[in-house]
C-alpha cells in the first residue's frame, strides 16, 4: 500500500562525486516488496521546490524498517535533499510502481544486471534478492568517470562486476555495450536501468532471444497514476492512444512492451 510518512534520516553520505547514499527509517519500509520500486520524495517542507522527486529504492532492511536511496545531487531539489542530516525528517510517499520480476529467473539460472550511472542503485536490492533466491548474477555498469562510480565492492560480494567509464578512467573505456560486446557472458535474463539510449541498445541486442526487463525514467507529476504526465506508447500500437504509465504500470517493463 502507498503511504505518506515523515521518515527519519539514519545516515547520509556522499559516496561518489555528487552521489549520495541516504538511509531512511520509516514504517513504509514494510510495504516495500519488489526491487525496482521507487519513492516520491518531498525535499523541503515549503513550496520550494514544489514537486516531489522520484528516487528508486536501492536497499531494503525490513527488520530495521530502513531503506536506502542513492541519488545524484544535480538540480535544485536533490541539492536541497543532500543537506539533510541524521535525525532530520524527509517526507516520503511510497512505495510506488512495479519493480523487476524476480520470478522470471529460476534458482540456478543466471541474471545479467546492466546499469548506467544513476540507474545502478535499484539493481543493488534486485541483485541481493536474486542471489537470495539462488540466482547467479553478473553486473555490468557504466559510469561517466571513475569518481562517479559507487557500490562496486558491495556488488562484487554478490557476483562478478564489470565496469566501463566513458572517459576510460576506470575499467573498460566506453559504454556498457562495449563490455557486453567484449566479455563472453551467458545468462537467461537481463534486468536493466539507466539512460534511454542504453536501454534501447540492450533491447535491440537481446530482446529477440532473452527475457529483458527495463526500468524507465520519465518526468512525473503525481507518481501515482493520476496526472498522465509519464505515459508512453505501447509497442503494439505505437501511434495510437493505448499507453502505459511509467509511475504505476512501470517503471519496469518487459522489453517490447512499450516504445522507448
Amino acid at each position: 500500500m502507498i503511504r505518506n510518512e515523515l521518515c527519519t534520516v539514519i545516515s547520509h553520505h556522499e559516496i561518489a562525486e555528487n552521489i549520495y547514499e541516504l538511509i531512511l527509517c520509516g514504517e513504509l519500509a514494510s510495504e516495500m516488496t519488489e526491487p525496482g520500486q521507487f519513492v516520491h520524495v518531498k525535499v523541503s517542507s515549503g513550496l520550494d521546490p514544489l514537486l516531489r522527486r522520484p528516487i528508486s529504492i536501492a536497499n531494503i532492511d525490513h527488520e530495521k524498517k530502513e531503506f536506502t536511496l542513492i541519488y545524484r545531487a544535480e538540480g535544485r531539489g536533490t541539492t536541497i535533499l543532500s543537506k539533510k542530516m541524521p535525525g532530520d525528517e524527509v517526507d516520503i510517499l511510497g512505495p510506488l510502481g512495479h519493480g523487476f520480476p524476480l520470478e522470471e529467473t529460476e534458482a540456478g539460472e543466471t541474471a545479467l544486471l546492466v546499469g548506467g550511472g544513476i540507474g545502478v542503485p535499484p539493481l543493488y536490492e534486485l541483485s541481493k534478492q536474486l542471489v537470495a533466491r539462488g540466482v547467479r548474477v553478473f553486473h555490468v555498469f557504466g559510469f561517466q568517470t571513475k569518481s562517479a562510480t559507487f557500490y562496486e565492492e558491495a556488488f562484487k560480494q554478490l557476483g562478478p562486476t564489470f565496469i566501463a567509464t566513458v572517459d576510460g578512467s576506470y575499467g573498460t573505456c566506453g559504454l556498457v555495450t562495449d563490455v557486453l560486446d567484449s566479455e563472453v557472458l551467458s545468462f537467461d535474463t537481463i534486468y536493466s536501468c539507466g539512460p534511454t539510449p542504453m536501454l534501447r541498445a540492450i533491447e535491440e541486442k537481446y530482446a529477440a532471444d532473452k527475457k529483458v526487463f527495463l526500468s524507465l525514467e520519465e518526468r512525473m507529476g503525481c507518481g501515482i497514476g493520476a496526472c498522465f504526465a509519464c505515459v508512453c506508447h505501447t509497442a503494439e500500437n505505437p501511434n495510437g492512444f493505448t499507453y502505459k504509465k511509467v509511475c504505476t504500470d512501470g517503471p519496469v517493463f518487459r522489453a517490447g512492451e512499450v516504445v522507448l
Binding site: L50, L51, E218, G221, C222, I224, V231, H233, Y243, T248
Partner: protein, 303 residues
C-alpha cells in the same frame, strides 16, 4: 447543521472541496488512498468524443511555486468514460462534474449530450480554456462571442447544469464571464492555467515536448483571486474557484474573493491526501475566524 454544505445549480455538496479536472484522473488512484465519498464532488478528467493520447512527453516541468503541464487532453474517449469510469465512481456518494472538451462545437455538444445523462454526473464543466491543444480550446476560451455561442449550444444539449471554465489568458475576464452568462451558463469555474514555458539550460530548448504548457499551483493564486473578485461582482453566477489551493486558509481566501466552492489541482500531486485534510481543517478555521457557516464567507472582500 453541516457547516460546510453548499448548494449550487445541480450540486448538493456536503462540503465545497473537490479535486480539479485533470489532477485526479477518474478517481481510481486516489480511491486507493482514501474514501472518495469524503469529497464534496469530483471533477473528472476532460473527456472528448474520441480517445486521445495527448502530447508527447515530457509533459510536466516544475517552476517556482508552480508547474507547467501539457498533457493534451489524454483520455480514453466518451464511450469508455461512460461504460467504465463513471460506473466505477457510482460506488461513492459523491456527485461528478464532467469536464467536457473537444475541437469543434459538434464535439462539445456530443460529449455534453451523452455524458450529462450518466446517473452520477450532476453538472458539466465546459473546458473552453485548455491551453495545450492545437485546435479548438484556446479560441473558444478567448473570443467572447465564440464562448457564448458554444455555451448556448452545450446548454441546450445538456441534461444537467453547465459550468463554464474560464481561461485567465485574456485581457478582460469580466467580459468573457458576462458573455458566457448571456449564453446561459449555470455557473463558472475559474481559473484554468496560465500559458507558460520553461527552457532546458543544457539544450536551450523548451522542457515540454509541446513547448508551452499551462501554469498551475500557488504561483497563480493571486491572479485567480483577482479574477474571481472582479467576476463575482459583475455576474450573478456562482463560481467554483481554483488555482494554487493547498490549505483551508486558501479556501477561505477564495470564498472571500467570491467563490462558492473550490477545486484543488496541483496540490494533489504534492500531497495526495490534501483534499480530506483541507475538509478537516476547514471547520476549525470557521471557528477561528468566527463563522457559523462557510457560505457567510462568500464575497466578503467586496460585500
Amino acid at each position: 447543521m453541516n457547516r460546510l454544505a453548499v448548494n449550487l445549480p445541480g450540486l448538493k455538496l456536503k462540503n465545497p472541496i473537490m479535486p480539479a479536472s485533470g489532477c485526479f484522473g477518474f478517481g481510481k488512484e486516489f480511491g486507493q488512498l482514501y474514501d472518495l465519498s469524503e469529497l464534496g464532488a469530483i471533477m473528472i478528467k476532460a473527456t472528448t468524443v474520441e480517445p486521445r493520447f495527448g502530447n508527447p512527453t515530457p509533459r510536466v516541468a516544475e517552476t517556482s511555486a508552480g508547474m507547467l503541464n501539457a498533457i493534451g487532453l489524454q483520455n480514453p474517449g466518451l464511450d469508455k468514460v461512460l461504460s467504465e469510469e463513471l460506473p466505477w465512481l457510482e460506488q461513492f456518494d459523491v456527485p461528478i462534474i464532467a469536464n467536457v472538451a473537444g475541437s469543434t462545437e459538434e464535439d462539445y455538444v456530443e460529449v455534453a449530450r451523452r455524458i450529462s445523462k450518466a446517473p452520477n454526473v450532476h453538472a458539466l464543466e465546459l473546458n473552453i480554456s485548455c491551453p495545450n491543444v492545437k485546435t479548438g480550446g484556446i479560441a473558444f476560451g478567448t473570443i467572447p462571442e465564440v464562448a457564448k455561442s458554444l455555451t448556448a449550444k452545450v446548454k441546450e444539449a445538456s441534461s444537467v447544469p453547465v459550468y463554464v471554465k474560464l481561461s485567465p489568458n485574456v485581457t478582460n475576464i469580466v467580459e468573457m464571464a458576462k458573455e458566457v452568462e448571456a449564453g446561459g451558463a449555470d455557473g463558472l469555474t475559474m481559473i484554468n492555467t496560465l500559458l507558460g514555458m520553461r527552457l532546458d539550460l543544457k539544450t536551450g530548448k523548451p522542457i515540454l515536448a509541446n513547448r508551452t504548457g499551462g501554469l498551475s499551483g500557488p504561483a497563480i493564486k493571486p491572479v485567480a483571486i483577482r479574477m474571481i473578485y472582479e467576476v463575482s461582482q459583475a455576474v450573478s453566477l456562482p463560481i467554483i474557484g481554483m488555482g494554487g489551493i493547498e490549505s483551508a486558509e486558501d479556501v477561505l481566501e477564495y470564498f472571500f474573493a467570491g467563490a462558492s466552492a473550490v477545486a484543488v489541482g496541483t496540490a494533489n500531486f504534492v500531497d495526495p491526501f490534501v483534499c480530506p485534510k483541507i475538509i478537516k481543517d476547514l471547520t476549525e478555521l470557521l471557528d477561528k475566524y468566527g463563522f457559523e457557516h462557510i457560505s457567510e464567507c462568500i464575497g466578503r472582500s467586496w460585500k
